[in-house]
């Protein structure tokens, strides 16, 4: 029964996670309000637009009950600008979408896929967290809702290549201290790179483990009172092992 999977989400699970993103649809039929587990679904009245989770949008689209309005960033114009930015800045990913105002102290903080990063009124100057998987899914299921699906597809492929190259170059920066900032990285990109990146960091850490332990011991000694017998004892033992 236990899950036989390595740490982190699999690509299929990232896609499942991405299907919770809100997208804008133009319904072609009426649908009454529905009490769903994730909250009430507002009634749909054509031709009024509605924001629904991607899984539902895809379901309605496949049954020809709705059209999907692609988010503004998923247009040739916006993607070209983002691709330019990605090519000009060799070391960093393009910045993620602007955040909503900070939540107050005890309010729940929302994060993707529960931020409206892919609805019709989302920004067009940044790639959202689930850019790659969302773009793929929309192009697959709703290509006819795009004005120019071919250029969008081409631009997404271009973005993927530029960013993949950055990921590869970025591995040189990974060090044992294991504090690497990766702003703007996408959900699917994490799923692809996780095993490699965490593997490199974990192994480098194990290589420098002795140095770190020494440093921690020293830190401990500074804070503790002198004469911490157990530590000194271990040190002595180590020395005799090495000299004998």
């Amino acid at each position: 029964m236990a899950l036989p999977l390595p740490p982190g989400l699999t690509p299929a699970e990232v896609a499942f996670f991405c299907e919770m993103e809100l997208v804008t649809i133009i319904p072609r039929q009426r649908l009454d309000a529905l009490e769903l587990l994730g909250g009430t679904l507002a009634p749909m009245l054509p031709p009024h637009k509605a924001n629904v989770p991607l899984w539902l949008a895809l379901l309605l689209k496949r049954q020809r009950r709705a059209n999907i309005a692609p988010p503004p960033w998923l247009s040739p114009h916006a993607l070209t600008a983002i691709l330019d930015h990605e090519t000009e800045n060799e070391d960093t990913f393009s910045p993620p979408p602007r955040l909503p105002p900070a939540p107050s102290a005890n309010a729940l903080a929302f994060s993707p896929p529960f931020l409206p990063e892919n609805t019709l009124d989302a920004g067009m100057d940044a790639l959202p967290y689930h850019w790659m998987e969302l773009g793929e899914m929309l192009l697959e299921a709703a290509a006819d809702d795009f004005e120019d699906p071919e250029s969008v597809r081409k631009l997404l492929r271009g973005l993927r290549e530029v960013r993949l190259a950055k990921m590869r170059r970025g591995t040189e920066m990974l060090d044992a201290a294991g504090g690497v900032r990766m702003n703007g990285v996408g959900g699917m990109e994490i799923a692809e790179g996780r095993a490699f990146i965490t593997g490199v960091i974990d192994n480098l850490r194990k290589l420098s483990a002795t140095v770190e332990e020494k440093r921690m011991e020293r830190g401990d000694r500074d804070t503790r009172s002198p004469g911490t017998a157990d530590y000194d004892y271990e040190d002595d033992e180590m020395e005799t092992q090495f000299t004998s």
Partner: protein
Amino acid sequence: MMDIDDLLQEVSAHAVPQETRDLQELTRCWVAERAAPELLEWPEELMGRVLERIRRQIDIIEEATGSMDASTNFKLIIIQTELERFKFLVRSFLRARLKKIDAHPHHILSLLPAQPSLLSGTEHAYLTNHQALLANHYHASFLSQFPVPLQKLDDTTGGVSMVERPDENAAVFVRALREVEEVFVEGTERRFRMARGDVWVVRWRAVKGLVRAGMVEVI
């Protein structure tokens, strides 16, 4: 004193229905449990609400099936699709926890006195019963042949512990949900600030307290 933005935001945060907030929390718990090296606290209240809603939704579906009306049928398809998604989430979450419980049973048993809410009631029953069965079995098949001092399964004498522990220093991907003044990576000189929205790859040990406090989330 609160300014008008805070007030507006308070209002809008409460405008998000409890169901949607629970879905955000449940998926966050799921991703964290899948990616973190250690077993995380059992979200008792959240899971109580979610499981109760799932139970009610199943009742609704059972009552409504059999109707021949096409529009009701389509509504049922939507409700059922969503229900299956929730069931997948809950199942994957529970199985990820079960994997960790199976991997480090003695370690988790040793944590329980200090952290009684680490496991759910059924997980606790599973862990103790399973370990009792295993201990009986080992004893009957070979342990009883050993000298008494060598029969323990959680021996820690001699400087080497038999109890396997998760690797608390494993690297994880995290995203800051609020401003974090300072993260300190123990054993190194590394100290850094996390701005809201920042994504970092960092050792689990350095951020686990922040994850528990809801300052950062595992991604």
